[in-house]
Symmetry: C2
Subunit: 472 residues, 2 copies
């Protein structure tokens, strides 16, 4: 965490000031006026300096970003480095000397260091590990081997270990000699024998207790913990559910191997949400860390093409089904004018239902066992919406378009059926996906609109053929 912060005033005027300053810094560097540039930069705190460097890297001014990074006081540079995105860290690493790299890695928190090593090319990592003491090298290798996106890759081995037999006074003395980062010090861990976790005790319990109290009297022996291989989504869920500042992580032998702290979870929640939103919009990205502007054109194509091809095939089938109704359409060509209305309404109403259900499933407001409640709710909602929208369309077709009643009736009747069908499909598909272990988010817009397009056009044209008495 930044240990030196600035005032946050009015957010908007602050952002304006920031943009102006970034531009001025770039100009000053252009003129080689490093002294003045440094002065402006050092008005900001570490989080903001990291943002300045990211902005400048976004402008492709890698060299200038490195100049700025090197201008920083050493302790500030490490903090700033830890706030940079993975890609930007690699950019900086590539531009500084091995000595500077070693210094940064030494000073970083353990979990941040692991994140950096994961991003670096293997040959650089090997070179760095060669210079690391054997014990630490072993620990680093263990951490590097945890699969990405699991609790093991999020945790830090830096935590406070206490013993049951310590008094509060001894415990506080022990904490003082360790002197760690604030986010890791607020929960202390009491280990049993070798490394098995026996209990936890919060720093607030220690500082508010009498100094002769034994740690064993304060600690909780029942606590929430995670396994190193738990998926990061489960990790985020545990933090959201319990509201803790840190959760211990154990290995398969129940030995305490590290802790995950809440400040690292915010990012995870954001990444998981981005993944959901992108999937709901028909984009399949394999790396949520990468930012839109940093992703190359071909990767954008690769992320978007699979769903588009799927939907194209579905739309082709829809077209072939419509072609079956050629007889109806050629006799009453005006029916074509209402085809988009029916298809669009199906897609829109289905998407609404799917959006609500997918979100409800993801924040645990809806359970699989609520399936009948969902059906009953969507059924009533869709009947009401169906009646309102068909009445509206019926009147418009008669009054504004001046079409005969059978046409208006065809549109109105098929619209009710389409809306009910689309709402039920939108409600049920995400639940079915979850049931069979597929991400419900994949069942949003693209899937729902493909299916409703197909079914809506058939319902509409079939209704038309019946009402208008045309044999297919």
């Amino acid at each position: 965490m930044a240990e030196n912060n600035e005032m946050v005033m009015d957010m908007e005027s602050k952002n304006r000031q920031f943009d102006e300053d970034v531009e001025q810094i770039l100009e000053l560097l252009q003129e080689s006026n490093y002294f003045k540039a440094r002065e402006i930069i050092l008005r900001y705190n570490e989080v903001d300096i990291a943002e300045i460097i990211e902005e400048i890297l976004d402008e492709m001014e890698v060299e200038k970003a490195i100049i700025i990074f090197r201008m920083l006081p050493k302790n500030v540079s490490v903090e700033v480095f830890s706030y940079l995105d993975g890609d930007d860290q690699v950019n900086i690493i590539n531009g500084i000397t091995d000595r500077e790299i070693s210094f940064i890695l030494d000073e970083l928190d353990f979990d941040d260091m692991i994140d950096v090593l994961e991003e670096l090319p293997a040959n650089i990592v090997d070179k760095i590990l060669d210079q690391t003491p054997k014990e630490e090298r072993k620990l680093i290798n263990t951490f590097l081997n945890y699969p990405e996106d699991c609790a093991g890759s999020l945790m830090t081995p830096d935590y406070i270990s206490l013993q049951e037999t310590m008094t509060v006074k001894e415990a506080l003395q022990h904490i003082k000699t360790q002197g760690m980062d604030s986010e890791t010090v607020y929960t202390c861990y009491v280990k049993h024998g070798g490394r098995e976790l026996k209990g936890i005790v919060s720093l607030s319990a220690l500082v508010t207790a009498d100094e002769d109290t034994l740690v064993s009297d304060l600690m909780h022996t029942e606590y929430v913990y995670l396994n190193v291989y738990d998926d990061q989504e489960e990790v985020a869920e545990a933090f959201k559910k319990y509201g803790f500042l840190a959760i211990p992580v154990v290995d398969n032998e129940n030995r305490l191997v590290g802790i995950v702290t809440v400040d690292d979870i915010m990012e995870i929640i954001e990444e998981e949400t981005t993944e959901d939103i992108e999937r709901m919009g028909g984009v399949m990205s394999d790396d949520q860390d990468a930012e839109y502007l940093d992703i190359g054109v071909f990767r954008h194509v690769k992320n978007r093409l699979p769903w588009l091809l799927f939907m194209t095939v579905m739309l082709m089938i829809t077209g072939m089904l419509i072609a079956q109704f050629e007889e109806v359409l050629s006799q009453v060509i005006i029916l074509v004018a209402y085809l988009p209305l029916l298809m669009g309404t199906g897609g829109n109403t289905g998407t609404q239902a799917a959006t609500l259900i997918i979100r409800g499933l993801s924040v645990d407001e809806i359970d699989l066992k609520d399936v009948f409640k969902v059906i009953w709710k969507e059924l009533r909602v869709s009947v009401i919406l169906g009646i309102v929208l068909s009445a509206f369309n019926f009147l418009k077709i008669i009054i504004v378009d001046g079409q005969p009643a059978p046409i208006a009736l065809t549109v109105a009747l098929s619209m009710i059926v389409v809306i009910v069908f689309a709402k039920l499909l939108g409600g049920l598909l995400p639940m079915a996906a979850k049931k069979i272990g597929v991400d419900p988010a994949l069942m949003a817009t693209p899937m729902i609109s493909s299916l409703t397009d197909m079914v809506s056009s058939c319902i509409y044209l079939f209704t038309a053929s019946v009402i208008l008495g045309i044999t297919l």
Copy 2:
């Protein structure tokens, strides 16, 4: 926070166990076997007991939920109460005596109490306030008057105040006598004169410092703070950006009035995300606290109808535009079979771009000044996707459908134009919305697909009339 937790084992088997236990509890209550029911309930921690009560309230078993609530040891019941949703709290409040209500409100953390009072009907609130000491009543009234969804409604006035002249030893002694909740104790606030905030000092700094050190030597005088009227979205942004555990809140006269802690922010982030996702799916909900299953049918209709009506009107216009091409369609009726393909592809490709840009804007990966980068990126991506998809369709129409080349060419050419148009529209509309101060999330699926439907069908039918040489 729950002070007494249980083990989290394998998440899935735990969930199964939980569901079974809830069912068993309901059965036991049915048989009036309260003793056994209580035994099962007390195996769980407070967070989980709250979930049990919520499950039972979802089953409409209000009376049983109240029986369970009354079974709990008094201190547990207050914790459990604080974890319930607003609606469920009101359900419980309505079923217990005034005395029980007073006890709970007295024991709740101040910010939780304010949340409860905000949910209760005015006459009950008045009755409660009548019994409250004058000073506290004044404070409660001030808090109740902060607008919902602002920093003032999220903060708690319970924080540790220190004085500059205190030594570390005195400060720790002061903290010990205050003895507050863990989430509020980890950052202490140093006030100047009356109530103006002078600096902040973390508990970790205090416990790791020498006991004779002065607080003034440890405190940071530059710090991040919020104004009581800052929107909750800004509050969440500040926590995400800086990773702090707590942020002080000041009023318009710069006086410290409370602090916001990180555990209350998780919920806000979830609410804000839900709002974004729902808006992107065409649902306008006015209350993110309400759960899908708890929302009545008519409110669901009300939340969904506005966008549906807007989209219906857009689709009507699309239909009227298509009717202008009646001549083309009646001469070459097979063109209708490819209309859904063109409209669908426009909607799908546009939605993909809009989803990425909206999310990028919301997590600050994309700035308004990146508009040309977005255009350039989407232009290249859409040309490549356009070529791939049109080639695919061209071949399919000739080979599978056996249609003549001019039809296939019409579809292929208009498809490239539609995709480029849709991607640019999807990229630019959210940015334009942000520029004029409208939520970009409103520019997703419903808006984009309405507009692309309209434009795609015109591009397609106009291209057809040109290539097939039909005068309109």
